[in-house]
Symmetry: C2
Subunit: 297 residues, 2 copies
Protein backbone atom coordinates (compact mmCIF):
# COMPACT_ATOMS: atom_id res chain seq x y z
CA UNK A 1 0.00 0.00 0.00
CA UNK A 2 1.64 3.25 -1.06
CA UNK A 3 2.07 6.14 1.34
CA UNK A 4 -0.35 8.46 -0.44
CA UNK A 5 -3.13 5.91 -0.24
CA UNK A 6 -2.27 5.12 3.37
CA UNK A 7 -2.70 8.80 4.14
CA UNK A 8 -5.95 8.95 2.20
CA UNK A 9 -7.31 6.03 4.22
CA UNK A 10 -6.20 7.53 7.50
CA UNK A 11 -7.64 10.94 6.68
CA UNK A 12 -10.98 9.52 5.56
CA UNK A 13 -11.19 7.39 8.71
CA UNK A 14 -10.56 10.49 10.83
CA UNK A 15 -13.11 12.46 8.81
CA UNK A 16 -15.92 9.93 9.22
CA UNK A 17 -15.08 9.45 12.89
CA UNK A 18 -15.29 13.18 13.49
CA UNK A 19 -18.48 13.51 11.44
CA UNK A 20 -20.18 10.68 13.34
CA UNK A 21 -19.02 12.18 16.61
CA UNK A 22 -20.78 15.43 15.71
CA UNK A 23 -23.94 13.78 14.50
CA UNK A 24 -24.45 11.39 17.43
CA UNK A 25 -26.39 12.91 20.34
CA UNK A 26 -24.13 14.13 23.16
CA UNK A 27 -23.60 11.96 26.22
CA UNK A 28 -25.04 14.63 28.47
CA UNK A 29 -28.26 14.78 26.47
CA UNK A 30 -31.13 12.71 27.97
CA UNK A 31 -31.43 9.75 27.96
CA UNK A 32 -27.73 9.89 28.84
CA UNK A 33 -27.01 6.20 29.17
CA UNK A 34 -28.56 5.39 25.79
CA UNK A 35 -26.60 8.16 24.09
CA UNK A 36 -23.38 7.11 25.83
CA UNK A 37 -23.93 3.55 24.60
CA UNK A 38 -24.69 4.73 21.04
CA UNK A 39 -21.39 6.62 21.01
CA UNK A 40 -19.58 3.63 22.55
CA UNK A 41 -20.52 1.33 19.69
CA UNK A 42 -20.11 3.76 16.80
CA UNK A 43 -17.00 5.73 17.73
CA UNK A 44 -13.37 4.83 18.28
CA UNK A 45 -12.83 1.85 16.07
CA UNK A 46 -13.52 -0.12 12.95
CA UNK A 47 -11.80 -0.03 9.58
CA UNK A 48 -14.70 2.00 8.16
CA UNK A 49 -14.72 -0.19 5.06
CA UNK A 50 -18.13 1.05 3.91
CA UNK A 51 -17.33 4.75 4.30
CA UNK A 52 -14.03 4.22 2.44
CA UNK A 53 -15.99 2.64 -0.41
CA UNK A 54 -18.39 5.60 -0.39
CA UNK A 55 -15.57 8.15 -0.49
CA UNK A 56 -13.84 6.27 -3.32
CA UNK A 57 -17.08 5.88 -5.30
CA UNK A 58 -17.82 9.57 -4.86
CA UNK A 59 -14.48 10.38 -6.55
CA UNK A 60 -15.68 8.63 -9.72
CA UNK A 61 -18.04 11.40 -10.75
CA UNK A 62 -17.07 14.48 -8.79
CA UNK A 63 -19.48 14.05 -5.87
CA UNK A 64 -19.23 16.76 -3.23
CA UNK A 65 -17.46 15.25 -0.22
CA UNK A 66 -19.77 17.12 2.15
CA UNK A 67 -22.62 15.09 0.65
CA UNK A 68 -20.80 11.77 0.37
CA UNK A 69 -19.90 11.85 4.04
CA UNK A 70 -23.60 11.94 4.98
CA UNK A 71 -24.25 8.81 2.96
CA UNK A 72 -21.12 7.18 4.39
CA UNK A 73 -22.25 7.98 7.93
CA UNK A 74 -25.80 6.69 7.36
CA UNK A 75 -24.51 3.41 5.97
CA UNK A 76 -22.01 3.08 8.81
CA UNK A 77 -24.80 3.68 11.38
CA UNK A 78 -26.89 0.90 9.80
CA UNK A 79 -23.82 -1.34 9.89
CA UNK A 80 -23.13 -0.45 13.54
CA UNK A 81 -26.73 -1.14 14.54
CA UNK A 82 -26.58 -4.55 12.86
CA UNK A 83 -23.42 -5.48 14.76
CA UNK A 84 -24.98 -4.53 18.10
CA UNK A 85 -28.08 -6.63 17.43
CA UNK A 86 -26.04 -9.53 15.95
CA UNK A 87 -23.91 -9.68 19.09
CA UNK A 88 -26.95 -10.09 21.40
CA UNK A 89 -27.27 -13.35 23.34
CA UNK A 90 -30.28 -14.48 21.29
CA UNK A 91 -28.23 -14.04 18.10
CA UNK A 92 -24.46 -14.69 17.94
CA UNK A 93 -23.99 -14.18 21.70
CA UNK A 94 -20.66 -12.47 21.26
CA UNK A 95 -18.74 -10.66 23.99
CA UNK A 96 -15.94 -8.98 22.07
CA UNK A 97 -16.08 -6.56 19.14
CA UNK A 98 -13.26 -4.36 17.84
CA UNK A 99 -11.25 -5.40 20.90
CA UNK A 100 -13.87 -4.06 23.32
CA UNK A 101 -16.74 -5.68 25.24
CA UNK A 102 -19.86 -5.78 23.07
CA UNK A 103 -22.65 -3.34 23.86
CA UNK A 104 -24.82 -5.68 25.93
CA UNK A 105 -21.77 -6.69 27.99
CA UNK A 106 -20.56 -3.12 28.55
CA UNK A 107 -24.12 -1.88 29.22
CA UNK A 108 -27.00 -4.38 29.26
CA UNK A 109 -29.30 -6.17 26.83
CA UNK A 110 -32.21 -3.72 26.80
CA UNK A 111 -29.80 -0.85 26.19
CA UNK A 112 -28.13 -2.74 23.34
CA UNK A 113 -31.54 -3.39 21.79
CA UNK A 114 -32.47 0.30 21.97
CA UNK A 115 -29.02 1.39 20.77
CA UNK A 116 -29.51 -0.63 17.59
CA UNK A 117 -33.04 0.66 17.11
CA UNK A 118 -31.95 4.26 17.63
CA UNK A 119 -28.94 4.02 15.31
CA UNK A 120 -31.22 2.83 12.53
CA UNK A 121 -33.53 5.83 13.05
CA UNK A 122 -30.54 8.17 13.11
CA UNK A 123 -29.29 6.81 9.79
CA UNK A 124 -32.57 7.74 8.09
CA UNK A 125 -32.63 11.07 9.88
CA UNK A 126 -29.27 11.98 8.36
CA UNK A 127 -30.36 10.86 4.89
CA UNK A 128 -33.36 13.22 5.08
CA UNK A 129 -31.77 16.10 6.97
CA UNK A 130 -29.00 17.10 4.57
CA UNK A 131 -29.22 17.69 0.83
CA UNK A 132 -27.43 14.88 -0.93
CA UNK A 133 -28.16 15.90 -4.50
CA UNK A 134 -29.62 18.99 -6.15
CA UNK A 135 -32.70 16.92 -6.93
CA UNK A 136 -34.81 16.11 -3.85
CA UNK A 137 -36.79 13.48 -5.77
CA UNK A 138 -33.56 11.63 -6.40
CA UNK A 139 -32.77 11.92 -2.70
CA UNK A 140 -36.10 10.27 -1.85
CA UNK A 141 -35.11 7.45 -4.20
CA UNK A 142 -31.78 7.16 -2.35
CA UNK A 143 -33.55 6.88 1.01
CA UNK A 144 -35.73 4.14 -0.42
CA UNK A 145 -32.59 2.33 -1.63
CA UNK A 146 -31.01 2.46 1.83
CA UNK A 147 -34.24 1.23 3.44
CA UNK A 148 -34.39 -1.70 1.03
CA UNK A 149 -30.72 -2.51 1.60
CA UNK A 150 -31.27 -2.55 5.38
CA UNK A 151 -34.62 -4.34 5.48
CA UNK A 152 -36.09 -7.80 5.18
CA UNK A 153 -35.06 -8.19 1.56
CA UNK A 154 -31.59 -6.84 2.31
CA UNK A 155 -29.34 -6.99 5.35
CA UNK A 156 -31.91 -8.04 7.98
CA UNK A 157 -33.24 -10.69 5.59
CA UNK A 158 -29.71 -12.01 5.08
CA UNK A 159 -29.35 -12.27 8.82
CA UNK A 160 -32.57 -14.31 8.96
CA UNK A 161 -31.26 -16.65 6.25
CA UNK A 162 -28.00 -16.95 8.19
CA UNK A 163 -29.88 -17.97 11.34
CA UNK A 164 -31.95 -20.51 9.45
CA UNK A 165 -28.81 -22.08 7.98
CA UNK A 166 -27.03 -22.86 11.26
CA UNK A 167 -26.26 -26.57 11.37
CA UNK A 168 -27.27 -27.03 7.73
CA UNK A 169 -25.05 -27.93 4.80
CA UNK A 170 -25.44 -25.18 2.21
CA UNK A 171 -24.38 -25.26 -1.40
CA UNK A 172 -22.07 -22.51 -2.64
CA UNK A 173 -24.97 -20.70 -4.41
CA UNK A 174 -27.06 -20.81 -1.23
CA UNK A 175 -24.20 -19.38 0.81
CA UNK A 176 -23.73 -16.69 -1.83
CA UNK A 177 -27.46 -15.84 -1.72
CA UNK A 178 -27.19 -15.33 2.02
CA UNK A 179 -24.15 -13.07 1.83
CA UNK A 180 -25.49 -11.02 -1.08
CA UNK A 181 -28.17 -10.01 1.41
CA UNK A 182 -26.39 -10.08 4.76
CA UNK A 183 -23.30 -8.03 3.94
CA UNK A 184 -23.63 -7.38 0.21
CA UNK A 185 -26.73 -5.19 0.27
CA UNK A 186 -25.18 -2.57 2.53
CA UNK A 187 -21.84 -2.55 0.70
CA UNK A 188 -23.70 -1.98 -2.55
CA UNK A 189 -25.62 0.84 -0.89
CA UNK A 190 -22.35 2.41 0.29
CA UNK A 191 -21.06 2.49 -3.28
CA UNK A 192 -24.24 3.32 -5.18
CA UNK A 193 -25.54 6.02 -2.84
CA UNK A 194 -22.20 7.82 -2.97
CA UNK A 195 -22.24 7.69 -6.77
CA UNK A 196 -25.76 9.17 -6.72
CA UNK A 197 -24.30 12.22 -4.95
CA UNK A 198 -22.18 13.04 -8.02
CA UNK A 199 -22.75 13.73 -11.72
CA UNK A 200 -25.27 11.48 -13.49
CA UNK A 201 -23.83 8.16 -14.62
CA UNK A 202 -25.38 6.22 -17.51
CA UNK A 203 -27.54 3.18 -16.77
CA UNK A 204 -24.73 1.00 -18.12
CA UNK A 205 -22.20 2.65 -15.84
CA UNK A 206 -24.51 2.23 -12.86
CA UNK A 207 -24.95 -1.46 -13.70
CA UNK A 208 -21.17 -1.97 -13.90
CA UNK A 209 -20.66 -0.14 -10.64
CA UNK A 210 -23.35 -2.22 -8.96
CA UNK A 211 -21.71 -5.40 -10.27
CA UNK A 212 -18.39 -4.19 -8.88
CA UNK A 213 -20.02 -3.58 -5.49
CA UNK A 214 -21.62 -7.02 -5.53
CA UNK A 215 -18.26 -8.71 -6.23
CA UNK A 216 -16.40 -6.69 -3.64
CA UNK A 217 -19.11 -7.45 -1.07
CA UNK A 218 -18.77 -11.18 -1.64
CA UNK A 219 -14.98 -11.01 -1.71
CA UNK A 220 -15.05 -9.15 1.58
CA UNK A 221 -17.15 -11.93 3.11
CA UNK A 222 -14.89 -14.71 1.82
CA UNK A 223 -11.90 -12.91 3.34
CA UNK A 224 -13.81 -12.52 6.58
CA UNK A 225 -14.51 -16.26 6.73
CA UNK A 226 -10.85 -17.07 6.09
CA UNK A 227 -9.75 -14.63 8.77
CA UNK A 228 -12.24 -16.08 11.24
CA UNK A 229 -10.90 -19.57 10.58
CA UNK A 230 -7.22 -18.63 10.73
CA UNK A 231 -6.69 -15.63 12.94
CA UNK A 232 -6.37 -15.40 16.68
CA UNK A 233 -8.87 -13.49 18.79
CA UNK A 234 -6.25 -10.89 19.67
CA UNK A 235 -5.38 -10.08 16.06
CA UNK A 236 -9.03 -10.00 15.00
CA UNK A 237 -10.34 -7.84 17.83
CA UNK A 238 -13.39 -10.09 17.99
CA UNK A 239 -13.83 -13.70 19.05
CA UNK A 240 -12.10 -15.90 16.47
CA UNK A 241 -13.29 -19.34 15.38
CA UNK A 242 -16.92 -18.53 16.30
CA UNK A 243 -18.26 -19.73 12.97
CA UNK A 244 -16.93 -23.27 13.31
CA UNK A 245 -17.94 -23.37 16.97
CA UNK A 246 -21.49 -22.29 16.11
CA UNK A 247 -21.61 -24.77 13.23
CA UNK A 248 -22.25 -22.02 10.71
CA UNK A 249 -21.71 -22.68 7.03
CA UNK A 250 -18.90 -20.49 5.68
CA UNK A 251 -16.82 -20.31 2.54
CA UNK A 252 -14.11 -22.11 4.49
CA UNK A 253 -16.41 -24.91 5.67
CA UNK A 254 -17.63 -25.47 2.10
CA UNK A 255 -14.43 -24.85 0.15
CA UNK A 256 -11.57 -25.13 2.62
CA UNK A 257 -9.14 -22.29 3.26
CA UNK A 258 -7.09 -22.69 0.10
CA UNK A 259 -10.02 -22.62 -2.31
CA UNK A 260 -11.72 -19.86 -0.36
CA UNK A 261 -8.61 -17.72 -0.88
CA UNK A 262 -8.75 -18.52 -4.59
CA UNK A 263 -12.40 -17.48 -4.72
CA UNK A 264 -11.57 -14.16 -3.09
CA UNK A 265 -8.99 -13.56 -5.84
CA UNK A 266 -11.49 -14.44 -8.57
CA UNK A 267 -14.08 -12.10 -7.15
CA UNK A 268 -11.50 -9.36 -6.95
CA UNK A 269 -10.66 -9.98 -10.60
CA UNK A 270 -14.36 -9.68 -11.51
CA UNK A 271 -14.52 -6.46 -9.55
CA UNK A 272 -11.52 -5.07 -11.51
CA UNK A 273 -13.20 -5.97 -14.77
CA UNK A 274 -16.44 -4.25 -13.80
CA UNK A 275 -14.50 -1.10 -12.91
CA UNK A 276 -12.66 -1.27 -16.21
CA UNK A 277 -15.97 -1.24 -18.08
CA UNK A 278 -17.02 1.99 -16.36
CA UNK A 279 -14.80 3.90 -18.78
CA UNK A 280 -13.79 6.53 -16.21
CA UNK A 281 -10.84 6.94 -13.83
CA UNK A 282 -11.28 4.40 -11.05
CA UNK A 283 -7.87 4.53 -9.40
CA UNK A 284 -9.21 5.17 -5.91
CA UNK A 285 -11.80 2.39 -6.01
CA UNK A 286 -9.09 -0.01 -7.23
CA UNK A 287 -6.94 0.92 -4.26
CA UNK A 288 -9.83 0.46 -1.84
CA UNK A 289 -10.63 -2.89 -3.43
CA UNK A 290 -7.08 -4.10 -2.80
CA UNK A 291 -7.24 -2.71 0.71
CA UNK A 292 -10.47 -4.57 1.50
CA UNK A 293 -9.77 -7.89 -0.11
CA UNK A 294 -6.14 -8.31 0.82
CA UNK A 295 -6.31 -7.03 4.38
CA UNK A 296 -4.19 -9.41 6.46
CA UNK A 297 -3.42 -11.67 3.47
CA UNK B 1 -70.45 6.86 19.56
CA UNK B 2 -72.77 7.61 16.67
CA UNK B 3 -73.27 5.15 13.84
CA UNK B 4 -71.66 7.32 11.18
CA UNK B 5 -68.50 7.63 13.23
CA UNK B 6 -68.55 3.93 14.05
CA UNK B 7 -68.67 3.22 10.33
CA UNK B 8 -65.88 5.71 9.66
CA UNK B 9 -63.68 3.97 12.25
CA UNK B 10 -64.46 0.55 10.88
CA UNK B 11 -63.80 1.59 7.29
CA UNK B 12 -60.51 3.28 8.14
CA UNK B 13 -59.39 0.24 10.11
CA UNK B 14 -60.16 -1.98 7.12
CA UNK B 15 -58.41 0.44 4.79
CA UNK B 16 -55.16 0.55 6.78
CA UNK B 17 -55.24 -3.22 7.29
CA UNK B 18 -55.61 -3.79 3.58
CA UNK B 19 -52.93 -1.20 2.74
CA UNK B 20 -50.45 -2.76 5.19
CA UNK B 21 -51.26 -6.19 3.82
CA UNK B 22 -50.30 -5.02 0.33
CA UNK B 23 -47.13 -3.26 1.44
CA UNK B 24 -45.72 -6.05 3.63
CA UNK B 25 -43.60 -8.58 1.72
CA UNK B 26 -45.52 -11.76 0.84
CA UNK B 27 -45.10 -14.84 3.00
CA UNK B 28 -43.80 -16.84 0.06
CA UNK B 29 -41.05 -14.30 -0.61
CA UNK B 30 -37.64 -15.26 0.88
CA UNK B 31 -36.83 -15.18 3.75
CA UNK B 32 -40.28 -16.69 4.23
CA UNK B 33 -40.29 -17.13 8.00
CA UNK B 34 -39.22 -13.53 8.60
CA UNK B 35 -41.91 -12.21 6.27
CA UNK B 36 -44.54 -14.48 7.80
CA UNK B 37 -43.61 -13.14 11.25
CA UNK B 38 -43.70 -9.52 10.05
CA UNK B 39 -47.22 -10.07 8.76
CA UNK B 40 -48.18 -11.89 11.97
CA UNK B 41 -47.35 -8.91 14.16
CA UNK B 42 -48.69 -6.14 11.91
CA UNK B 43 -51.88 -7.63 10.49
CA UNK B 44 -55.13 -8.80 12.01
CA UNK B 45 -55.52 -6.71 15.10
CA UNK B 46 -55.07 -3.48 16.97
CA UNK B 47 -57.34 -0.49 17.30
CA UNK B 48 -55.12 1.41 14.82
CA UNK B 49 -55.27 4.48 17.05
CA UNK B 50 -52.39 6.21 15.27
CA UNK B 51 -53.74 5.66 11.74
CA UNK B 52 -57.18 6.91 12.90
CA UNK B 53 -55.49 10.07 14.18
CA UNK B 54 -53.69 10.45 10.84
CA UNK B 55 -56.89 10.05 8.84
CA UNK B 56 -58.72 12.54 11.06
CA UNK B 57 -55.86 15.06 10.93
CA UNK B 58 -55.73 14.75 7.16
CA UNK B 59 -59.39 15.81 6.99
CA UNK B 60 -58.46 19.16 8.59
CA UNK B 61 -56.84 20.55 5.48
CA UNK B 62 -57.99 18.44 2.57
CA UNK B 63 -55.07 16.01 2.48
CA UNK B 64 -55.31 13.35 -0.21
CA UNK B 65 -56.23 10.06 1.50
CA UNK B 66 -53.93 8.14 -0.82
CA UNK B 67 -51.09 10.13 0.73
CA UNK B 68 -52.30 10.10 4.32
CA UNK B 69 -52.55 6.32 4.30
CA UNK B 70 -48.82 6.05 3.55
CA UNK B 71 -47.99 8.18 6.58
CA UNK B 72 -50.49 6.23 8.68
CA UNK B 73 -48.91 2.94 7.61
CA UNK B 74 -45.35 4.14 8.27
CA UNK B 75 -46.26 5.29 11.77
CA UNK B 76 -48.12 2.04 12.45
CA UNK B 77 -45.09 0.02 11.30
CA UNK B 78 -42.84 1.94 13.71
CA UNK B 79 -45.40 1.33 16.46
CA UNK B 80 -45.59 -2.39 15.61
CA UNK B 81 -41.80 -2.74 15.64
CA UNK B 82 -41.64 -1.08 19.06
CA UNK B 83 -44.20 -3.51 20.48
CA UNK B 84 -42.27 -6.52 19.17
CA UNK B 85 -39.02 -5.29 20.73
CA UNK B 86 -40.74 -4.19 23.97
CA UNK B 87 -42.22 -7.66 24.42
CA UNK B 88 -38.82 -9.39 24.22
CA UNK B 89 -37.59 -11.25 27.33
CA UNK B 90 -34.83 -8.68 27.96
CA UNK B 91 -37.45 -5.90 27.99
CA UNK B 92 -41.01 -6.41 29.28
CA UNK B 93 -40.90 -10.18 28.76
CA UNK B 94 -44.52 -10.33 27.69
CA UNK B 95 -46.20 -13.36 26.16
CA UNK B 96 -49.55 -11.98 25.04
CA UNK B 97 -50.36 -9.09 22.70
CA UNK B 98 -53.70 -8.31 21.06
CA UNK B 99 -54.94 -11.67 22.34
CA UNK B 100 -52.23 -13.61 20.53
CA UNK B 101 -48.83 -14.98 21.59
CA UNK B 102 -46.15 -12.30 21.20
CA UNK B 103 -43.74 -12.61 18.28
CA UNK B 104 -40.85 -14.24 20.16
CA UNK B 105 -43.29 -16.81 21.61
CA UNK B 106 -44.99 -17.59 18.31
CA UNK B 107 -41.65 -17.63 16.46
CA UNK B 108 -38.40 -17.15 18.40
CA UNK B 109 -36.29 -14.36 19.83
CA UNK B 110 -33.90 -13.82 16.92
CA UNK B 111 -36.85 -13.66 14.52
CA UNK B 112 -38.63 -11.13 16.74
CA UNK B 113 -35.49 -9.00 16.83
CA UNK B 114 -35.20 -9.04 13.03
CA UNK B 115 -38.95 -8.48 12.59
CA UNK B 116 -38.68 -5.24 14.57
CA UNK B 117 -35.56 -4.15 12.69
CA UNK B 118 -37.17 -4.88 9.33
CA UNK B 119 -40.44 -3.13 10.15
CA UNK B 120 -38.52 0.02 10.99
CA UNK B 121 -36.71 -0.12 7.62
CA UNK B 122 -40.01 -0.70 5.83
CA UNK B 123 -41.56 2.36 7.48
CA UNK B 124 -38.84 4.60 6.04
CA UNK B 125 -39.05 2.83 2.71
CA UNK B 126 -42.75 3.74 2.43
CA UNK B 127 -42.09 7.34 3.45
CA UNK B 128 -39.57 7.67 0.60
CA UNK B 129 -41.29 5.52 -2.01
CA UNK B 130 -44.57 7.39 -2.46
CA UNK B 131 -45.11 11.10 -2.99
CA UNK B 132 -46.66 12.54 0.16
CA UNK B 133 -46.75 16.18 -0.89
CA UNK B 134 -46.16 18.03 -4.15
CA UNK B 135 -42.95 19.37 -2.61
CA UNK B 136 -40.23 16.71 -2.28
CA UNK B 137 -38.18 18.97 0.02
CA UNK B 138 -41.10 19.02 2.43
CA UNK B 139 -41.26 15.24 2.16
CA UNK B 140 -37.60 15.00 3.18
CA UNK B 141 -38.47 17.14 6.20
CA UNK B 142 -41.33 14.74 7.03
CA UNK B 143 -38.99 11.73 6.89
CA UNK B 144 -36.64 13.55 9.24
CA UNK B 145 -39.56 14.18 11.61
CA UNK B 146 -40.51 10.52 11.67
CA UNK B 147 -36.89 9.51 12.27
CA UNK B 148 -36.65 11.92 15.19
CA UNK B 149 -39.96 10.72 16.63
CA UNK B 150 -38.77 7.11 16.46
CA UNK B 151 -35.20 7.60 17.63
CA UNK B 152 -33.19 8.16 20.79
CA UNK B 153 -34.76 11.55 21.46
CA UNK B 154 -38.21 10.20 20.72
CA UNK B 155 -39.85 6.81 21.18
CA UNK B 156 -36.72 4.68 21.70
CA UNK B 157 -35.38 7.28 24.13
CA UNK B 158 -38.66 7.17 26.06
CA UNK B 159 -38.31 3.43 26.28
CA UNK B 160 -34.81 3.87 27.73
CA UNK B 161 -36.13 6.32 30.32
CA UNK B 162 -38.89 3.85 31.13
CA UNK B 163 -36.35 1.07 31.73
CA UNK B 164 -34.23 3.31 33.93
CA UNK B 165 -37.26 4.20 36.05
CA UNK B 166 -38.26 0.66 37.05
CA UNK B 167 -38.36 0.44 40.84
CA UNK B 168 -37.94 4.21 41.21
CA UNK B 169 -40.43 6.72 42.54
CA UNK B 170 -40.99 9.30 39.83
CA UNK B 171 -42.61 12.68 40.19
CA UNK B 172 -45.54 13.47 37.91
CA UNK B 173 -43.39 15.72 35.68
CA UNK B 174 -40.77 12.97 35.36
CA UNK B 175 -43.44 10.46 34.39
CA UNK B 176 -44.83 12.95 31.88
CA UNK B 177 -41.36 13.50 30.41
CA UNK B 178 -41.05 9.77 29.86
CA UNK B 179 -44.43 9.41 28.16
CA UNK B 180 -44.00 12.48 25.98
CA UNK B 181 -41.15 10.50 24.46
CA UNK B 182 -42.27 6.88 24.75
CA UNK B 183 -45.77 7.14 23.30
CA UNK B 184 -46.22 10.86 22.68
CA UNK B 185 -43.58 11.34 19.99
CA UNK B 186 -45.15 8.83 17.63
CA UNK B 187 -48.71 10.04 18.24
CA UNK B 188 -47.59 13.57 17.44
CA UNK B 189 -45.93 12.24 14.29
CA UNK B 190 -49.17 10.50 13.28
CA UNK B 191 -51.06 13.80 13.52
CA UNK B 192 -48.46 16.23 12.19
CA UNK B 193 -47.25 14.13 9.25
CA UNK B 194 -50.84 13.66 8.07
CA UNK B 195 -51.43 17.41 8.29
CA UNK B 196 -48.28 17.98 6.22
CA UNK B 197 -49.91 15.97 3.42
CA UNK B 198 -52.65 18.60 3.08
CA UNK B 199 -52.88 22.34 2.37
CA UNK B 200 -50.34 24.54 4.19
CA UNK B 201 -51.33 25.42 7.75
CA UNK B 202 -49.99 28.53 9.45
CA UNK B 203 -47.23 28.20 12.06
CA UNK B 204 -49.81 29.04 14.73
CA UNK B 205 -52.15 26.35 13.50
CA UNK B 206 -49.33 23.81 13.41
CA UNK B 207 -48.41 24.76 16.99
CA UNK B 208 -52.01 24.27 18.17
CA UNK B 209 -52.24 20.97 16.36
CA UNK B 210 -48.99 19.82 17.90
CA UNK B 211 -50.25 20.81 21.35
CA UNK B 212 -53.44 18.88 20.70
CA UNK B 213 -51.38 15.82 19.73
CA UNK B 214 -49.23 16.16 22.84
CA UNK B 215 -52.31 16.25 25.10
CA UNK B 216 -54.00 13.37 23.37
CA UNK B 217 -50.80 11.33 23.58
CA UNK B 218 -50.57 11.85 27.33
CA UNK B 219 -54.31 11.25 27.83
CA UNK B 220 -53.97 8.01 25.90
CA UNK B 221 -51.18 6.89 28.23
CA UNK B 222 -53.11 7.77 31.38
CA UNK B 223 -56.06 5.74 30.11
CA UNK B 224 -53.70 2.89 29.29
CA UNK B 225 -52.34 2.89 32.85
CA UNK B 226 -55.86 2.87 34.30
CA UNK B 227 -56.87 0.03 32.01
CA UNK B 228 -53.78 -1.96 32.95
CA UNK B 229 -54.58 -1.52 36.63
CA UNK B 230 -58.29 -2.33 36.33
CA UNK B 231 -58.92 -4.60 33.38
CA UNK B 232 -58.61 -8.34 33.12
CA UNK B 233 -56.16 -9.97 30.76
CA UNK B 234 -58.99 -11.32 28.62
CA UNK B 235 -60.62 -7.93 28.10
CA UNK B 236 -57.29 -6.23 27.42
CA UNK B 237 -55.90 -8.78 24.97
CA UNK B 238 -52.53 -8.41 26.65
CA UNK B 239 -51.28 -9.37 30.09
CA UNK B 240 -53.02 -7.11 32.63
CA UNK B 241 -51.47 -5.83 35.85
CA UNK B 242 -47.95 -6.09 34.42
CA UNK B 243 -47.01 -2.57 35.45
CA UNK B 244 -47.60 -3.14 39.13
CA UNK B 245 -46.00 -6.56 38.97
CA UNK B 246 -42.89 -5.10 37.32
CA UNK B 247 -42.83 -2.24 39.82
CA UNK B 248 -43.13 0.36 37.07
CA UNK B 249 -44.17 3.90 37.92
CA UNK B 250 -47.52 4.71 36.27
CA UNK B 251 -50.13 7.43 36.54
CA UNK B 252 -52.09 5.05 38.74
CA UNK B 253 -49.15 4.30 41.06
CA UNK B 254 -48.49 8.03 41.49
CA UNK B 255 -52.05 9.40 41.49
CA UNK B 256 -54.34 6.46 42.19
CA UNK B 257 -57.09 5.38 39.80
CA UNK B 258 -59.56 8.12 40.64
CA UNK B 259 -57.15 11.02 40.13
CA UNK B 260 -55.66 9.38 37.06
CA UNK B 261 -59.14 9.33 35.52
CA UNK B 262 -59.49 13.02 36.37
CA UNK B 263 -56.16 13.78 34.71
CA UNK B 264 -57.28 12.01 31.55
CA UNK B 265 -60.36 14.25 31.48
CA UNK B 266 -58.25 17.38 31.98
CA UNK B 267 -55.91 16.43 29.20
CA UNK B 268 -58.88 15.78 26.95
CA UNK B 269 -60.20 19.22 27.80
CA UNK B 270 -56.83 20.77 26.88
CA UNK B 271 -56.90 18.85 23.63
CA UNK B 272 -60.40 20.23 22.85
CA UNK B 273 -59.17 23.76 23.51
CA UNK B 274 -56.19 23.37 21.24
CA UNK B 275 -58.46 22.13 18.45
CA UNK B 276 -60.77 25.06 19.02
CA UNK B 277 -57.89 27.47 18.46
CA UNK B 278 -57.16 25.95 15.05
CA UNK B 279 -60.07 27.93 13.61
CA UNK B 280 -61.04 25.21 11.13
CA UNK B 281 -63.57 22.36 11.19
CA UNK B 282 -62.22 19.70 13.53
CA UNK B 283 -65.24 17.48 13.97
CA UNK B 284 -63.45 14.27 13.03
CA UNK B 285 -60.47 14.87 15.31
CA UNK B 286 -62.90 15.58 18.17
CA UNK B 287 -64.61 12.28 17.56
CA UNK B 288 -61.32 10.41 17.45
CA UNK B 289 -60.23 12.13 20.65
CA UNK B 290 -63.33 10.88 22.44
CA UNK B 291 -62.82 7.46 20.94
CA UNK B 292 -59.23 7.27 22.20
CA UNK B 293 -59.61 8.74 25.64
CA UNK B 294 -62.88 7.17 26.66
CA UNK B 295 -62.33 3.73 25.24
CA UNK B 296 -63.61 1.31 27.90
CA UNK B 297 -64.46 4.14 30.31
Amino acid sequence: MNVNFQNWVKNRQLQIESYLENRLPAENCAPERLHEAMRYVVLGGGKRIRPLLSFAAGELNGADEARVIVVAAAVELIHAYSLVHDDLPCMDDDTLRRGKPTCHIQYDEPTALLVGDSLQSLAFQLMAEFYLTDNPKKQLEMIKQLAQAAGSRGMAGGQAIDLASVGKILTLPELEFMHIHKTGALIRAAVMLAAHCGDELSDDQLAHLDHFAKCIGLAFQVVDDVLDAEATTAALGKTAGKDAEQNKPTYVSILGVKQARELAKELKHDAYEALDRLGIATNRLLQVTDFIVQREF
